[in-house]
Structure formats: structure tokens, C-alpha cells
């Protein structure tokens, strides 16, 4: 294995039949954040990968030991900043599981609506950046990227009118949610998701059986079912490799059992299978949001009084592992509480950390252009990888 110290000074040696060590990242345009892959090349084919991460490490786990249960939810969204709504949910549910705090029905429905809207927004960003990586910033990829961003802005407008912020919300609170939907929001939300439903049809006709796209996506970056489970990848990657597992169906939380939706599974395991899984997930999430909006019950949005001071929420001694089905897979929060206002230990299971761990196993044998396509289809978010 190449140890990082030695590879810092990297030169050519033209002794024929030699291997070129090339550095992809950390400022590489298609690195999806700050990630450095040291590729060993033979011509165009890659024979070895050493991934260097940790550029965005803020030690969320130490931070959570210094912040109270009231403060940390708005910081939890900084782990997976592309899907802030789902990452906060894991922390809040873990605390509620330990403290056995009951969440009112309306708050559960609000959480489902926001999580599914966030999944659509996050998948839109995935599709845009993936096509941009494969198509080039001055080419067809940028067209799909701008379409996706145009639609994602509509969802961010919804979140902005609900919470006031566009990316990191702090919408959750132990015991329920901090905000209720303003009047007229539900109607605007229905219009937005109808528009997005139509626009997704447009993207599919732009990409679906487009020979150039198929040539880049089919048969590239195949993850076998056994490797998928062994490394612990989750979400669309797992379902793309043939494992029928979705937390919303296997261990329903926050009243997901009230909604009917089907879980897409592809057995291909390659980039195209993951693409197909996510495109179906777009429509499933929109269906869930419609059902949740139609059956949104009235009542309180939090089972605890409004937050008045920093140490107001105290959780009794205990531990719990809460899991949420984020857009990138299982986001888990393993929380140990010692009865005070601050948790004793919090382990954050980021979905992208395990998803990224599969790269060194599947990249060898591909070309450089494939690395970009595989990275895009794995869709890592480096806030969640480096925590």
C-alpha cells in the first residue's frame, strides 16, 4: 500500500512499462468535495487507489459531547449538508428513544414530508453533479446540472418559507419540530412537486436511452451483492446491487408505515442500476409527500414546551442507536446519555463514509473517465465522510 508520506514527491520515471502515479484531488473539479485519490496508472487503466480523506474533519463526535440536546440538532445538519433534514432526524430520534419521549402525530407527518422533500432535492443535486462530471462543465452535463438546480431551487424556496434558511435548517427538536407549516405552504408544496414530477420525465428523455450516457454508465463500477453487504454500503447503492433493504420499509420510523410506496431494486450493481434506483426513488418520494400532505393531522408539533433555555432538555441514563434512511443510505446515531443535559458519547454513522469505502475495491481495472462516473454514482458528501 502506498503510504502517504512517500508519495508527496512524485516524479515521472520513463523506464518503460512503468506505472504513473497520478494525484486526483483534493482540489479536483469532480471530487465532490475535498477528497484525494492517489491513482496508480498503467496508460489509461487504473491499477491501484489510495484514498486520502479528512480534509473536512470537524470532530462532530467531540463537539456533541460539549453541546446540549437543545443546541446540537442545528449542528447535526452540518454532517450531511446536502440532506440536512434527514441527518438531524437521526440525532433527535436517538434522544427520543432513550428518553422514551412520545412525538405527536402531526410532528411525525411533518418529519416525513420534510425528509422526503429533502431526498428529492438531494437526488436532484446528485443527478446534476453526476452528469456534469461525465459531460463536462462546458457540455451536455452542464445542461442537466442547470435543469436540476433550477428544480432544486423550488424545493429550497419551500424550506425557506418554512424555516427561513435554505441549506441548514435546525428544523427538528427533541420531542417534535420547531416550526409549523405556514398557511398556503401545503398548496405551494403540491404545485412544486407536480412540476418536478413532470420535469423528471424530461431528464429521463434527455438521458435514458441516450447512447453516450449509456456507454458511460452501463457496466461501469459494478458492485457485487456480497461486496456490498461486506463493506456495509447502504441506500441506493445497496438496492442497486440487488439487496431489497430500505429502512423505511424494514424498520419503519416516524410513522412511515402509514404510507404506501414501493422500493426499487436493480440487480445490475453498475452505475446505470444506481441511476435507475434513484430515478424511481424520485417518484416514490413525491408520492409519499402527496399522501402525507393529504392526511396531515392537526394538533401540537412538539410534545415538550417551547425551548426556553439551553439545558431545558434532560435525557435519563441509557443508550440507543437510531437509524434513518437518508438519500445516500442508512444514517445512524449511536447515543449514550448519562442523565445530564449533554450526551456522554455520540457515534455518527455517516452513509457516505461506508459508501466511499467500497471505492478502492471496485476502481482497479477501470479507466480514469470511469473513476469520475463511479464517484458520481456513489454520490459521497464529504461532510458525512469526514464528520
Amino acid at each position: 500500500m502506498l503510504d502517504t508520506a512517500k508519495t508527496s514527491k512524485v516524479e515521472f520515471d520513463y523506464s518503460g512499462g512503468e506505472r504513473l502515479t497520478m494525484n486526483m484531488g483534493p482540489q479536483h473539479p469532480s471530487a465532490h468535495g475535498v477528497f484525494r485519490a492517489i491513482l496508480t496508472l498503467e496508460g489509461e487503466t487504473i491499477v491501484g487507489v489510495d484514498a486520502v480523506i479528512g480534509y473536512l474533519h470537524r470532530c462532530h463526535e467531540k463537539l456533541s459531547e460539549t453541546l446540549t440536546y437543545a443546541q446540537y440538532p442545528s449542528i447535526a445538519s452540518k454532517t450531511d449538508y446536502v440532506a440536512a433534514m434527514t441527518s438531524e432526524l437521526a440525532y433527535v430520534m436517538a434522544a427520543e428513544q432513550i428518553g422514551k419521549i412520545e412525538v405527536p402525530k402531526r410532528a411525525q407527518y411533518l418529519r416525513v414530508i420534510m425528509a422526503e422533500l429533502q431526498r428529492v432535492a438531494s437526488h436532484l443535486l446528485w443527478l446534476g453533479t453526476w452528469c456534469m462530471d461525465m459531460g463536462g462543465a462546458l457540455g451536455g452535463g452542464a445542461t442537466v446540472f442547470l435543469y436540476c438546480i433550477r428544480e432544486r431551487e423550488l424545493i429550497l424556496d419551500l424550506f425557506e418559507s418554512l424555516v427561513g434558511a435554505r441549506l441548514l435548517y435546525g428544523f427538528y427538536q427533541v420531542g417534535g419540530t420547531r416550526y409549523d407549516i405556514p398557511d398556503g405552504w401545503a398548496q405551494k408544496c403540491r404545485e412544486t412537486i407536480n412540476l418536478i414530477d413532470a420535469r423528471i420525465g424530461e431528464y429521463e428523455s434527455l438521458l435514458e436511452d441516450n447512447p453516450f450516457f449509456l456507454a458511460r454508465a452501463q457496466g461501469v463500477g459494478v458492485i457485487s451483492r456480497e461486496l456490498a453487504e461486506d463493506v456495509g454500503i447502504a441506500g441506493p447503492l445497496l438496492r442497486g446491487s440487488g439487496v431489497n433493504f430500505d429502512l423505511r420499509r424494514a424498520a419503519p420510523y416516524s410513522s412511515y408505515e402509514d404510507f404506501t410506496f414501493n422500493v426499487p431494486v436493480e440487480t445490475g450493481g453498475d452505475c446505470f442500476a444506481r441511476y435507475r434506483v434513484r430515478m424511481v426513488e424520485f417518484r416514490e418520494s413525491i408520492a409519499i409527500v402527496r399522501q402525507a400532505l393529504d392526511r396531515l393531522p392537526d394538533g401540537a408539533i412538539s410534545s415538550r414546551p417551547g425551548l426556553k433555555s439551553v439545558a431545558q432538555i434532560r435525557i435519563p441514563k441509557g443508550e440507543a442507536y437510531a437509524r434513518v434512511e437518508g438519500p445516500r443510505g442508512e444514517v445512524g446515531c449511536y447515543l449514550i446519555a448519562d442523565g445530564s443535559a449533554k450526551p456522554y458519547r455520540m457515534k455518527w454513522r455517516g452513509a457516505s463514509f461506508s459508501n466511499l469505502a467500497v471505492l478502492p475495491h471496485i476502481i482497479p481495472g477501470h479507466k480514469i473517465a470511469d473513476v469520475v462516473a463511479i464517484m458520481g454514482s456513489v454520490d459521497p458528501v464529504f461532510g458525512e465522510v469526514d464528520r
Binding site: S30, D133, G135, G140, A142, T143, N210
Partner: protein
């Protein structure tokens, strides 16, 4: 006008017209692409961004010209010029109007094709000279791609030559008065598609632009260039694209034929070339780039046999038409 001056006047005028055209074509492309992506494109510099190309040119001229310490100095400095000269030479034989043109050689199209494949030398010099891994990889890719696409480009360009029966571009244009070669029953359309596809590949436009594939090789062979050298390479690339679209206009769209009085010829010629250019831009902003090995397989296994077959069949058709 003194005798020694007259041969210089026409090339001087054409050169300046081309440079002016190239700068404003970049603006046209950016505006057109922006509208396709539901945004606006350059808007701030001048009314509706009309002065943007001039601003870009001035900016590039003022930019500091950095030469990497480990670069192979002579090759690095010579590369942009060697790349630019062929791209400008291709305008020599293009007839803009019946009499208007720098040099109407009787081997017009042969000259065009020969010169346009010279640019690969400048490109590889740029890739090699800048002593940068990304540049070297992209230069190697460039050599593969352009060489493998020159042949289909030549065969597709030869189909109108067969139909018109002469290499002289003005005669080809004259032969199309009645019927533009693109409307020639079957052969015209197929040859036009082959021509467009191989033009896309010869100038590394998307979906074949693996040369400066930003997501993998950052900026390809131009990565170490800055300032005026970068502008020269950019100028050369766009000049090549416009040259090919002019050639396409002459070969397939009946150069200056068009309704209206005679003197409107050059305008029609310009409009047709711009239509072809927008077609290339339209394709550029709708497709994803494909991998190196797929490009090469497409060229050798699909495009080359197809254009060869097309050429032979046109020959038969011409002989059969002449015979009957």
C-alpha cells in the same frame, strides 16, 4: 496599388474578418447555450453583453504569461503558433462569394483537409512542452482521436466532390445551384450526418471532447497556458470549428445560393455557416462525453466503414447517372 502588395490584401482582409468573427461567435455560443439552460449568458459588459468578447480579449492580453519552470521552453512557446497557423490557413480556399475568396485553388478541398490535420502537431507540442501529467495524457488522447477521425472526415467531405465532379470549391458551389447536396436523395443526408459527426470529433467538441475533459484532466493540454498563449489556442480552436462549418456550408448547403439579389451571396454564406455552427453548439450542450476507448471504437468500427461504403455507393450512383 503596387504589385507586390495586391496578393497581401485579400488574405489580410480575410484574416481580420475571421478573427472578428471568431471573437463574436464565442458570444453567440454563450448566449445560445445560456438560453438552452434557462439562464441569460453574458449580460453585464456593454448592452446585453455585446462587448464581452472584447473584454475577454483585452483581459487575456493583459494577463501575466506564466511559463512553468520545468517546461520544455522552446516547444512550450512554439506550440500555440504551430497550432494556430493551420487553423487560419484553412480559410484560404473557402469562396465566400463567386469571385470573393483568397485563393480559389483547383485542389481547394484537398488543401483544406491537408492543412486542417496539421494542427495535431501544435497540440501535441503543447501537451508535451508543459511537462504536466494532465497535459501529457490529454495530448496522447488528442493524437489518438484526431488521427482516427481524419479519415471519416475526408471520406465524408469527398462525397460532394464526387457529386460535383471537381475539387475546386467554387465549382462545387456552382454545381449546387439547382439542388443543394444535402437534399440529394439518400447520399446527401447520410454524408451530411457523417460530416457533422466527424467535424465534432476532429475539433474535440462534446460529445467527443475528451481532450480538455475538465472532470478528469482539468483543462487538458491548455492547463499550463495563460495570457496571450491561451488566447491563441482558444482562437485556433474556434477558428477550426468555424472553418469546418464554412466548409460544410459550401459542400452541403450550396454556398451562396439563396433567394434575393446576387450581391446577397456572402450574407447567405455566413448565415449557413452560422446555422451549422449553432447545430454543433446545440449538440455540444445536449450530450454527455464518452470515454476514450469508446470514441476510438466508434471511429474505426462504425464511422470509417460507413463513410467508405457511402463513398463507393456515390461513385456507383454517379457512374450510373452519367451512363443512363
Amino acid at each position: 496599388m503596387p504589385a507586390w502588395l495586391s496578393p497581401l490584401v485579400a488574405p489580410f482582409i480575410v484574416l481580420n474578418v475571421v478573427i472578428g468573427l471568431v471573437t463574436y461567435v464565442t458570444l453567440l455560443e454563450r448566449k445560445f447555450a445560456a438560453r438552452m439552460q434557462s439562464r441569460i449568458g453574458p449580460y453585464r459588459v456593454g448592452p446585453h453583453g455585446l462587448l464581452q468578447p472584447i473584454a475577454d480579449a483585452l483581459k487575456l492580453m493583459m494577463k501575466e504569461d506564466i511559463v512553468p519552470r520545468t517546461a520544455d521552453r522552446r516547444v512550450y512557446n512554439l506550440a500555440p503558433i504551430v497550432f494556430l497557423v493551420p487553423c487560419m490557413l484553412i480559410f484560404a480556399t473557402i469562396p465566400f462569394a463567386p469571385g470573393l475568396g483568397v485563393a480559389d485553388l483547383n485542389i481547394g478541398i484537398l488543401f483544406f483537409l491537408a492543412v486542417s490535420s496539421m494542427e495535431i502537431v501544435g497540440l501535441f507540442m503543447a501537451g508535451w512542452g508543459s511537462n504536466n501529467k494532465y497535459a501529457l495524457l490529454s495530448a496522447m488522447r488528442a493524437v489518438n482521436q484526431i488521427i482516427s477521425y481524419d479519415l471519416p472526415f475526408i471520406f465524408a467531405a469527398l462525397v460532394p466532390v464526387l457529386l460535383a465532379g471537381s475539387l475546386k470549391l467554387s465549382e462545387i458551389a456552382a454545381a449546387q445551384q439547382g439542388l443543394w447536396f444535402i437534399f440529394y436523395p439518400v447520399i446527401g443526408q447520410l454524408a451530411f450526418i457523417a460530416f457533422v459527426v466527424s467535424t465534432l470529433a476532429a475539433e474535440n467538441r462534446v460529445p467527443f471532447d475528451i481532450l480538455e475533459a475538465e472532470s478528469e484532466l482539468v483543462a487538458g493540454f491548455r492547463v499550463e497556458y495563460s495570457g496571450m498563449k491561451f488566447a491563441l489556442i482558444q482562437l485556433g480552436e474556434y477558428a477550426h470549428v468555424i472553418g469546418s462549418s464554412f466548409l460544410g456550408a459550401v459542400l452541403f448547403l450550396g454556398a451562396w445560393a439563396g433567394p434575393g439579389p446576387e450581391w446577397l451571396g456572402p450574407l447567405w454564406m455566413l448565415l449557413k455557416a452560422m446555422f451549422l455552427f449553432l447545430l454543433i453548439t446545440w449538440v455540444r450542450w445536449s450530450f454527455v462525453r464518452i470515454r476514450v476507448d469508446q470514441i476510438l471504437t466508434l471511429s474505426w468500427k462504425v464511422l470509417l466503414p460507413f463513410t467508405l461504403l457511402l463513398l463507393v455507393s456515390t461513385a456507383f450512383v454517379v457512374v450510373w447517372r452519367a451512363g443512363v
